[in-house]
């Protein structure tokens, strides 16, 4: 019995973890308890040093003094203020008007606004609720297919998970021991491509099933010129002008003067220049009343400016290397506050509520991490990481075999677990193996982030579906504009609507596997003020992630003669994905 226990501690511990978690007690404490129970058992069996738990305060201290995680409350707070600022409503209405006349136009508007909101707020619930309340009734009114409309809204809301600045990517970066800036740069292009795939699906539907996505009738377009024209031409001219300016900056400034600047730096500056021109034109037009621009054009410019300005403030400064992600989060939160004041939406109640939600979210996220660290202290102590590594590195097919198996595993787990649980429990186990196989960890992280996005869309537990259900009409209702009785949106329609988008998600996973270049661009453009960049550009060369805080994870210092002590030291070092590998180098 004892011999069996000693030989199989890691698998037993993992099995017990599954049982503990499924009981439904808070994940953070179930994880920690698992670590404690098996830690005590290990000490009893002589597998682990009695001093094992002495390392706990230092491990929690490592979580406390973690600058990366500081970005979590900042971005959460920013999102909560922003979702109530009315920005999403304005965007959906105006962009819906703009695209509505095209077949499938409302769906394009939802995807486009979903992507814009994703790049500013990063809160799935808020995007889904806004779109469910504003766009869904219009889509239903003009005869969109219910499943298609529901699926498009739910999926576009989840773009917040993959397009920076998302919490997912921050936590992924932390768990993989990589910089958040790299993670953002790596996820940016896949995020845009994914939004493009959603739009392509709409395009496909508009050819194959045109009745699912009818164009809005002319009377539904309320934003018109006094003479009855749409004002599209004026907007087109303005758009062309802005694009020309942006391209001109790229070719006439960057190519001759700064050819060394990276793609994302150029993109940020060029797009900003183009936007500034459009904004200037709209302001001049409004102030002078010259009527150079149509109402539609002016309106589009004014609703697009706040999100674009925030994107610049947060992502722009991070990509330019001016701000760290944490500072970007704080600046974004401040920007959101300013905007909410400007729109007269900020009051004490909203402020208190946002701080309250932020504090609670931060607490439960960090406590899962603390629980995971108590768990891993014991799990690494009983050589659990070697067990996992052994299981996974024995897979046939090398890198590709590993990636396929891991992605199937995560896809299946995403039915049951939400993102935080996946990130804190599964990622630390997988990362060292991925690294050993020579897989770039940013690529790996982005890949898993795209995959985990499905956890929001899987019926019946997907959060995006849940939030859409809460705002979609559940009973028969009378449409305000047409006065017709409308059938409710059934839960089955929401579930079935999500299915094509889950398939698109899988296609995207395969694309990221097949074309790692779309993630690897993060390597060309290292922001200047990030010292960790230097290390990251050389793959599989490990240096401690945070050299500033000595003793942060080294609770048992000095050379250890006895193998038990050595084991504890290993657990300490092995905590971070990268360091685990270093250990193995030492031992082999």
């Amino acid at each position: 019995m004892t011999a069996f226990l000693i030989a199989n501690m890691a698998p037993l511990m993992f099995a017990a973890l599954v049982v503990f978690l499924l009981l439904g007690y808070p994940v953070a404490f179930a994880l920690a308890a698992n670590g404690i129970v098996f830690g005590l058992l290990g000490i009893e069996l002589g597998l682990l040093s009695p001093a094992l738990f002495g390392a706990l305060p230092e491990r929690i201290w490592g979580v406390m003094s973690n600058d990366t995680l500081l970005a979590v409350p900042f971005f959460t707070f920013m999102g909560l203020i922003l979702e109530r600022s009315g920005m999403a409503e304005d965007l959906l209405e105006t962009i819906g008007q703009l695209f509505g006349a095209v077949r499938g136009g409302l769906a394009y508007a939802v995807v486009f606004v979903g992507a814009l909101l994703a790049a500013t707020t990063g809160v799935v619930a808020a995007s889904v609720i806004s779109m469910g309340l504003i766009s869904l009734p219009i889509m239903l009114r003009y005869g969109y297919d219910r499943r298609f409309a529901a699926g498009t809204i739910a999926a576009s809301g989840t773009l917040a998970q993959i397009i920076p600045p998302s919490l997912v990517l921050i936590i992924m970066a932390d768990q993989l021991g990589r910089s958040v800036g790299d993670m953002y740069a790596g996820a940016f292009i896949p995020g845009i491509i994914l939004a493009g795939l959603y739009a392509s699906y709409t395009l496909l539907v508009s050819f194959v099933k045109p009745t699912w996505v009818p164009a809005l009738p002319p009377e539904a377009r309320t934003m018109r010129e006094p003479d009855g024209t749409t004002g599209n031409r004026s907007l087109l001219v303005l758009f062309v002008l802005s694009t020309v300016v942006a391209i001109a900056v790229w070719h006439l400034y960057y190519n001759p003067y700064k050819p060394e600047a990276g793609t994302d730096v150029r993109l940020v500056v060029c797009v900003s220049a183009g936007t500034a021109v459009a904004f200037l034109a709209a302001v001049v037009n409004k102030l002078t009343g010259m009527g150079l621009l149509s109402r539609l054009a002016e309106r589009v410019v004014f609703v697009l400016i706040p999100p674009l300005a925030l994107i610049f403030l947060v992502l722009g400064t991070i990509f330019l290397g001016v701000a760290t992600p944490t500072e970007g989060g704080a600046m974004g939160a401040l920007g959101a506050l300013v905007m909410a004041v400007g729109r007269r939406r900020l009051n004490w109640k909203l402020l208190r509520q946002s701080m309250d939600t932020t504090a609670k979210l931060t607490t439960f996220v960090v406590f899962i991490l603390i629980g995971a660290r108590v768990f891993s202290l014991t799990f690494y102590g009983v050589e659990g990481h070697k067990w996992v590594e052994h299981l996974l590195s024995a897979l046939p097919g090398g890198q590709m075999g590993f990636l396929i198996v891991v992605n199937i595993l995560v896809f299946v787990l995403a039915f049951f677990l939400d993102f935080f649980e996946l990130a804190f429990i599964i990622i630390p186990l997988l990362a060292p193996v991925a690294d050993k196989l020579g897989i770039d960890l940013i690529w790996f992280g982005v890949l898993l982030a795209v995959n985990m996005q499905t956890s929001f869309m899987h019926p019946p537990f997907g959060f995006a579906l849940f939030y859409l259900r809460s705002v979609a009409p559940a009973k028969e209702y009378t449409d305000k504009v047409t006065g017709k009785r409308m059938a409710p949106v059934t839960t089955g329609q929401i579930y079935w609507g999500a299915v094509p988008y889950v398939v698109i998600q899988l296609i995207m996973v395969s694309l990221v596997i097949a074309f790692p270049q779309m993630v690897m661009v993060y390597k060309d453009d290292a922001p200047i003020n990030d010292p960790s960049k230097v290390e990251i550009q050389i793959p599989s060369n490990y240096t401690p992630r945070d050299p500033v805080a000595p003793g942060k994870d080294g609770a048992v210092p000095g050379p250890a003669a006895d193998p038990l002590e050595q084991a504890i030291q290993d657990q300490e070092n092995a905590d971070k994905a990268g360091d685990a590998l270093q250990d193995d180098f030492k031992q082999n």
Binding site: G24, L56, M64, I129, T363
Partner: protein, 196 residues
């Protein structure tokens, strides 16, 4: 049981007050971090003290709100299977979970962290980075936070046992009147109602 329920109410009030006071630190941290970033870029000056105070505040938020978050039942659970159990079964799981999962964790962390804090306090140790802050105010957060968490665990235990005895209504229901999502939905509807 009456005395215990009074104790539970006192603990709930304590953690509720602390939670409501501590969440203001979120705003303070945002302002300090944004201010520091602006000053750093505009005047090219910065101090490690400002960087360190940010994570002191961050630590204060999640450690001091641990009990508050438990009170509000916001520590996430995996309810794929547990969601199908009856309320009584779920309450039993909470009772046993508190006794065997939560309270031992709290006891262990307190046992390890109090001497750990005292060492820093006695040595008046200062952060090794230039201009760094004194360390004990951050380290004391760990025993305080886990004490609050332990107290709240005790209160939840009392409430759940009382519920199983039929003395009080179900304490497991979420205590917030409205979630942030419901508020958002209402506000959008109100704004649109005005327009229509």
């Amino acid at each position: 049981m009456k005395a215990l329920l009074a104790l539970s109410r006192a603990i709930d009030t304590l953690n509720d007050r602390i939670g409501r006071a501590v969440y203001w630190l979120v705003l303070v941290a945002v302002l300090i971090s944004a201010g520091n970033a602006i000053v750093r870029k505009a005047f090219d000056m910065s101090s490690n003290a400002y960087l360190e105070i940010q994570w002191y505040l961050f630590s204060a938020v999640f450690l001091l709100c641990a009990g508050y978050t438990l009170l509000k039942n916001e520590h996430i659970r995996i309810d794929v299977i547990a969601g199908r159990f009856s309320r009584r079964t779920q309450t039993w799981i909470d009772v046993l979970g508190t006794i065997f999962f939560l309270l031992p964790l709290v006891a262990l962390i307190l046992y390890e962290s109090v001497p750990w804090f005292l060492r820093t306090w006695q040595s008046q140790e200062v952060s090794p980075s230039a201009g760094g802050l004194i360390l004990w105010p951050a380290k004391i957060l760990l025993p305080i936070g886990f004490s609050l968490l332990g107290l709240q665990g005790l209160s939840e235990l009392i409430k759940r046992i009382a519920f199983l005895q039929g003395l009080i209504p179900d304490p497991g229901e979420k205590q917030v009147a409205k979630t942030a999502e419901e508020e958002l939905a209402e506000e959008i509807l109100r704004a649109r109602g005005d327009k229509a």
